[in-house]
Every structure is written in C-alpha cells, then in structure tokens.
Subunit: 352 residues, 2 copies
DNA sequence: ACGGATAGTGAAAACGTGTTCATTTTAAAT
DNA sequence: ATTTAAAATGAACACGTTTTCACTATCCGT
C-alpha cells in the first residue's frame, strides 16, 4: 500500500486527501486532522506547515467522511412551501447568511402545495442526517418530523404564549420554541385604524392550516372585543395576491361598507389595495384603510407604502440561530424558549 | 462483534443501520444495500421483506456513508448574492422542485454583497463534494470555481451566442452552458415603444459586473442602432428598487425629456415607475413608457402592470436540470449548450 | 439429462475522516 | 538535578455505505 496509490494518481489528478497532505508534510494523518480542528493540541509550527501544504494542494476535509464519525453533517434543513413568498425568501436569506457564518449550510426542501410532506421526502431528508430543521411549513406535525428525522431536533415557531401546538402532553419529545408575540403589534394597528375612524373591520386570513394565521385571527378578534368593537368579518385567504384580490372583490360585491381591512400578510394586503383602487374605484386610505403583517421590503415601495405590523427579521434569525447552536452543543439540554416582539410600522395606508 | 452492539443499543434507541435491518431480516448487509438500489439484482421477495422491515425500523440509507463510496453527494450547490431578489427566488424555487424530483437537494450559499466569494467559503463548499454547481453570482470567475471545487462541474448561464466569458482559450476546462437569447425580446420591446411614439430612450442598468446586464445593454444599444435610433442614455443601477428610484430622479432633474425607459430587470422598473408617478408627477405610460426584464410575479400586480421581456422560467429550469443530469451521468461528455428564447409580455406601461 | 449462461448471494475491501488510548516529548515546579 | 504535570504524537479503531470478486443456485435450449 506504499506505492500502489501513485499508479492511480498518475492517471488523473485525484482529489487530495488527508493522507496526501500527511505524506508531503512528513507527519501522520492524525496531525492533519488536528490541524483543521482548532481545539486539538498540535505544535504551532507543525499546524502552520500542514495548513500551508493543504492550501497548495487545495485540500479540504471531506464533509462526508467527517460527518460519518462526528455525527454532525453541518447541514440545516429548511422546509418551505414556496421560496418565492417574499417573507420566507427574506428569512431564508438572513438564515443562510447567519448559518454560513457559523459553518453550516442550508439545505432546501419544498413541501407539496398543500404544505404537507411526501413520505418519500421525509425518508429522503432523514438520510442527510441534518443537524437541525426549521419548518416554515406549518402543516407538518412535530411528531411526524421527529419520528422521521433521526437525531435532528426541529425548531418550532409559535405565535402565542400558551404554545398551541408543540410540547403536547401526549408527545414525549420536547421542542425548542420561538414565540412571536403578535398581539402588541396588532393592537397598535387596530388603535391607529380606530383613531382614523374605522368602524367596520374585516380580517383577511392566510392559509387556514397555518398556525401564524390562526393566532393572528384569534389575536385580532380578541383585540376587537377588548376595544368594544363588533366581531370582524373574516375573509378566506391563502397568503397570495390573487386570492386576496378576488376575496376583496367578493366582499364589496355585497356592499358591506367595510372601511378597515387587516390582512394576515403583506402580499395579501397588496391584493386588497389593488382590488380597491383598480377594480372597485375606491381610495386607500381615504375610503378604506388597510394594514398588513410582516413588513417585507416591498411594503416600503411607494405604490403601496403599506402600514404594517413588523416582525424584526434580524432579531428573529438571531434567535433561531441561537436556539440551533445551543441545541447542537448540548442535545440533552432542557427545551428553551425565545420570545419576539412585534410593532406597527406606520406608512400611508391608514392615514397620512 | 456479535453481542457487543446490543449493549449500546440498550442504552439509547440508536439510529437503525443497514446491519440492524440485515440481522432482523436474516440476510447480509449487502442485500440491504441492494434492496435500496433498484438496479441491483436481488430476489423480489427478499427485497420486499427488507424494505418492509426497513420501514418498520425507520431505516434510511445514510447519505454520508453512501457519498463516501459512490462519490455522489446528491447535493447541488446554488451560489446567490441575494435570495430575496424575486427573479432569483423564483428560480431557486423551481430548481429545488425539479431537483427534488430527481433525488437531489439544493444547498444554498451566499456571496458577499459585491458578489465575490470568500476564499474560506469556497474551501468550505469544496468539502461538501457537490455534484453540481449553479452560479447565479456572475462575479465568480469560472477558473476560481473549478480550481476550488473538486469534481463538481459548474453550469454557466451566458447571454449571448458568442459566449463572452466561459470557454476562454486560456482556460483548460470546458463548461456546459445555457445561452439566453435576449435580443429577440428586447427588439420586440423597442418596437412597441417606438410604435407608441418613444423618441428619447434611456437604459437603466443592473450591477455593472453582471454578465446579464452587460449583454442586455449591448443588445439594447445594438437594436437602437439597427432601428436608426440615437444612442440611448445609460443610467447606473444595481438591480434594486432604491437605486432605480434615485437614478430616475437624477435623470429628470436635468430635464432630459426622456420618454422611454428600459430597465435591466423588473424590480428596477418598479423603482422607475414609482419615481415617475409619486416623485415627479409624471404619468406612465402617457408621459413616459417603461419596460422591464424578467417577468417576475409582481409584474402582473395591478399597481405596476408592467410590460416586460420574459424568460420562461420553466423552460430555463428544465434546461438547467437537463444539463446537470447529463453531466452527472457522463462526466467526460463533451460540453453541451442549451438555448433559450425571450419574448415580450405586453401589459400597461407602454400603451393600452 | 447435460452443458452453459444467468441471476442471486455474502465476505472482504474500500471511501475519508475523528477519536480513543497509550506512549513520548516538552515544560514547569521544587 | 529531579520529580510532576501537561502537551504532543501516532497506531488502531469506528462511522455506514457500496463495490468488487468469487461462489452457488437457478434457468434455458439442444
């Protein structure tokens, strides 16, 4: 086994391995491994030599081999129904940046359009031995995930303090959670709309199976009651522009006289605004006031200039990464909860 | 080695491995491997038994172990400067769907804001042993990529027939390419603008280092000349809404009397439109006509209703996946080229 | 019934890495 | 100078899989 590999090596410039570097540096292969692990003890000059030769050869530790023994793939799975959706693409972007800085890469998986997951896909995902999983698709049950996903611990995002879904009594597994307090921001929104004279409110929902939507609707109704306002009209939606547009047209076909619409997301609010302005000949904000949720980049564009409830994206991603890293460092640590606030961003769709 | 693993197994429910399945099914581990490889020869009833037991145990072949010996990671890298950019997020979405169907997962990497890549990141990427790489960031030179990326063969997207960047004479490596013929669509756009009376054209560029932008500008100027029109004014841009807005304001500050603006991308066109309508008090399309490029979903929204040059996303992704799979099947196949057409989508920003 | 081809099978050897463990070298402390 | 602790080192093993390579059972046609 001393000269044999050279024959193959002569044929093609084979990928440099730790052994290649070790022989060239006159050290053992273990030393090469240690050179790439900052915490391992290795004489400084020897490490420098190894790293120098490694760079010349273009050697990089192979993740597959490393994953096999360390049981760390350095891969974080992101399950998402639709990458194009602005809020989600913004979060994926920020998440990728943050994780990349910590030495992890994000692996993208798409659910079916109904946000459910193929059995085949789950099996497939398991094979990658993901270090962590973030489920944007809220139609994937925690138990399904843990059952199908080896050692990776999913992180769940809840939208109310009482944690409506994960950590059920029946389930043995405990999840780290990020709780988003949506009520504060929504209350500010309703207060502003009320101050500008709204009397008849409507709530345009997102996908009905979405946890975020369920809690937004609940919070909205609760606030209406607290402020002594009548129960709002609820429009069916699915977070898309097209459906929002159609639902708004339907709403005003029966002439309800609604003068304040709160949408479960910004893209939906765009649909509402365009329906009002271009199809119904109504003015925003003079005739109807509109508020969205998310504060995506497009909400600042002048054509919409949308007043909206903001979840601070950087805070959110920072919290997620913190949870992921902590769980990775100590898999047996007790479940942890991070909390996030929301606040109203005032622009031009309620009053000037 | 017969009873030893059971001790560990008793402690925690260890991840099921091929050996676990093999022992339970009373076959060799090789049989298990074959059961999961459809092309391997294995008695049907034995395969069924193995797959059944595997499902009960929740066993899935480990990708790391598999990658080590097959030299196929089933990972496709996507290098992108900004996931949020609508066109790119749409393409990532479609690509992920298509690749997922073929058994590959997409791994996301972000460049720095100047679209260049950290040396550290390249080294890092190499470690994942990617099966293929698609570079959305056009500031990463082909040679840098091939030098730093083991056996993965990058796919390049060019925007002119003469292939301005890859396959240079100096470079030894040959790349598969996807050529987008932008001229046809741009010519249709100019023709329409001209028909509606445009006399003074301006071109709002994207990032100057972007290949797509360079070729779009070249094609636009060429068409202007062919149609006997004067050289267009060129505005600096970077594909963002904010810069487009600012550039448009600058343009009309000197009162050039421009009546037709062609933007290198749709998001830029949105900035142009909003500057004209909300800051300069001009009407679109009556006073100034605007055309974009890409045909992202937002271009159909009524507030913009943008006339734009479309690259068919599904065709594009289909072609990319075709190139990737072909290269993977035969790494030594000669370089291949796919070509894509563009065409104008007429909406409301040129004339009704 | 017989030869030959074919499908089915498992033992052993990879693939590239991190980690134990026992050993040697170096540094620090008396 | 001598003891004690700490740091540095490499051999062997482990991780989970696929791929040779022989070998056996099964099938077909004359």
């Amino acid at each position: 086994m001393s000269e044999h590999p050279n024959i193959q090596e002569a044929k093609r410039p084979e990928r440099a391995t730790a052994d290649t570097v070790a022989k060239l540096a006159g050290v053992s292969r273990v030393a090469v491994s240690r050179a790439f692990n900052p915490h391992a003890s290795l004489k400084k000059e020897k490490r420098d030599l190894i790293l120098k030769i490694a760079k010349e050869l273009g050697y990089t530790p192979d993740m597959a081999g490393r994953a096999l023994v360390t049981r760390r793939s350095h891969l974080v799975g992101v399950i998402v129904p639709d990458v194009c959706s602005p809020w989600e693409s913004q979060e994926i972007d920020a998440l990728t940046t943050a994780l990349q800085g910590e030495g992890f890469a994000t692996l993208l998986f798409k659910t079916r359009t109904d946000q459910s997951m193929d059995e085949r896909l789950l099996t497939y995902m398991k094979g990658f031995n993901l270090d962590s999983i973030i489920a944007f698709a809220e139609n994937v049950s925690p138990d399904t995930l843990t059952h199908s996903l080896g050692r990776a611990v999913p992180i769940y995002v809840s939208y109310s303090e009482d944690g409506s879904l994960p950590n059920q009594p029946g389930s043995t597994s405990v999840f780290d959670r990020l709780i988003v307090d949506q009520k504060t921001g929504i209350d500010q929104a309703v207060a502003l709309m009320q101050a500008y004279g709204c009397r008849n409110f409507a709530y345009l929902g997102g996908t009905t199976t979405s946890l975020a939507n369920t809690e937004r609707e609940r919070a909205f109704k609760c606030i209406m009651k607290e402020r002594g306002l009548p129960d709002p009209l609820v429009l069916q939606g699915d977070y898309t522009y097209e459906t929002a547009l159609a639902s708004t047209l339907d709403l005003f076909k029966v002439g309800e006289g609604v003068d304040g619409i709160f949408s479960a997301n910004d893209v939906g609010a765009f649909g509402v605004i365009d329906a009002l302005r271009f199809q119904l000949g109504l003015r925003v904000p003079e005739d109807v006031k509109v508020v969205g949720f998310d504060d995506i980049a497009q909400s600042g564009w002048l054509s919409y200039n949308l007043t909206t409830v903001k979840i601070d994206l950087e805070d959110r991603v920072r919290a997620l990464v913190r949870l992921i890293l902590r769980r990775l460092k100590d898999p047996n640590a007790p479940a942890m909860t991070e909390t996030l606030q929301t606040r109203l961003i005032v622009r031009g769709t309620v009053g000037s």
